[in-house]
Amino acid sequence: MNLRRLKDNISSRLMLAATVFACLLFFFVLIGLYSRASPILSAVPITDLLFSSEWGPTDGKFGFFPFIMGTLWVTGLATIIAVPISLLSSIYLSEYAGNHLRNIMKPLIDLLAGIPSVVYGLWGVLAVVPFIKDTLAPALGVETVGGYGILAGGIVLAIMVFPIIISITGEVLRSVSQELREVSLSLGATKWQTIKHVVLRKARPGIFAAIILGFSRAFGETMAVLMVVGNVAKVPSSIFDPAYPLPALIANTFGEMMSIPLYESAILLAALMLLVVVMIFNILARMVLIKIERGVV
């Protein structure tokens, strides 16, 4: 009898330890990155770091502006492409499609989420980049750097974001009560009117959260983007320009040329920026989703 209690006691303490570790892990990462990024934060004013376009680590110039803009362009474009397509698909699956179609689509969407990012990147290089170079750019009469650039990155990223927005929106739509729909339909509204005026209005905060989570996933995606975006450290001015997003900068330069003073610190600052932005987005989105789960919204 006592042995059983003892086992229960010890195991529960071990589980508690694992749980506390999970809570602390994020802070370890945050503090670890901050402590290594602090030399550059104290050596260069923060406004220079964020808004200067001069990038020359050998001369001690660390302006992240081109990289920040590159990230925003690629992620922004991916979101613009992904949001309407994902939302419409998700609405169709939850409101119109029968069980049969839904059962076929679920594994396909899971699979889309499971494909590794290098495979998406390779697909971008094999299919999207040549398409832009040989077909789209000549047709529109624009110059590209061999097809590599923001458009290619945005298209590849958009596809990677589809499953996230589709599955979260699906959950949110399912949480809208059936009675609400029936009331609207019984008043003579069409199915689409019901969706537009009742379901979507009720689901708006949740859909907002789904978009934010999709955006934040795109924000930190590294390999696929790195392979198709061109990696030129210049502030882009059109979607046909190449860009150099922050994750690509980290992947390409970290581990090399660490002899240059402050270089490592600057790269870790880039990682810290990604972490903080993603953290804010995730906390925002989760707060909305938790409220929906509790039925407050």
Partner: protein, 283 residues
């Protein structure tokens, strides 16, 4: 009156188009990789390790990367499993009692879920430099475990939540302790879901490149100890594609087929297992 019918039809068409784009992109990705990769896939690719000068077009295969990836993902998954199962069990009401700690843990796991893998990679490398560790299998395993932890834990927790209360209460009323109930009743009931969680995390681990870029390194040999640098499939694809030689680039396509097949196999196994073991569940 008719206008709203037209609007409905227009949106219906748009929705079906969107769905076709989603399915179409999945087929396009898989189709392109198979179409380009299958013709250049050879037995040597899978059975031989890279020979000297492999990236310059010399012979050999990517067995080193395949085995390396399996080591990394398996190690990461085992490590993540022990943490995740503990956390998922602890988040049950009888342990944490729905307290602040459990809410904080959930939020923390959600943020970790969203943390980009390159950030894990950079963090891991900094810590390893601090301890004067070189890129190694062990470093890669630990970072992959961190990456998989939130995915696995949330999947397991969702499953444990679906175990009926009555089932647990029956066990408690017979005098069982929390541990006995958790291991013998709850785990059995949740087994298919727990396995699904493990496999999803494994799939995520085997496909990730950014986190192990600095922590596991790359080498032509199969690692023989935890402290050897370890090659991986995603990085093999990335490096082969980055070479100027078209032959080596074609090997990248073939490597992508191998990775894709592994990921597909995991996805199919997941479905098969969850169906097979569902019959032991008390409904």
């Amino acid at each position: 009156m008719e206008l709203r019918r037209v609007e409905e039809s227009v949106f219906r068409v748009l929705m079906i188009l969107s769905l076709l784009i989603v399915v179409g992109s999945l087929l396009a990705v898989i189709g392109t990789i198979l179409w380009k990769g299958l013709p250049v896939l050879s037995i040597d690719m899978i059975t031989k390790t890279a020979e000297g000068g492999y990236f310059l077009g010399k012979g050999g295969g990517i067995l080193n990367a395949i085995v390396g990836s399996l080591y990394l993902a398996a190690g990461g998954t085992v490590l993540a499993f022990f943490l995740s199962i503990g956390i998922a069990f602890y988040l049950q009401k009888e342990y944490s009692g729905g307290t602040k700690l459990s809410n904080l843990t959930r939020l923390s796991l959600d943020i970790l879920w969203g943390t980009p893998s390159i950030v894990y990679g950079a963090f891991g490398f900094t810590v390893m430099m601090y301890f004067h560790m070189r890129a190694s299998l062990l470093g890669g395993i630990i970072i992959l475990a961190f990456l998989e932890l939130p995915i696995m834990t949330r999947a397991m927790e969702e499953v444990l939540k679906t175990v009926p209360r009555e089932l647990k209460e029956v066990s408690y009323s017979l005098g069982a302790t929390r541990l006995e109930t958790t291991l013998r009743v709850v785990s059995k009931q949740a087994l298919p879901g727990l396995m699904t969680g493990v496999l999803i995390a494994f799939g995520r681990g085997i496909g990730d490149a950014a986190s192990i870029l600095f922590t596991a390194g790359y080498t032509d040999r199969i690692p023989t100890s935890l402290f050897d640098a370890t090659a991986s499939l995603p990085l093999a694809i990335f490096f082969q594609l980055g070479t100027p030689s078209p032959q080596v680039q074609q090997k990248a396509y073939a490597s992508a087929v191998i990775l894709l097949v592994i990921v597909l196999a995991i996805s199919i196994t997941t479905r098969f297992l969850s169906r097979k073991y569902t019959k032991y569940i008390i409904k």
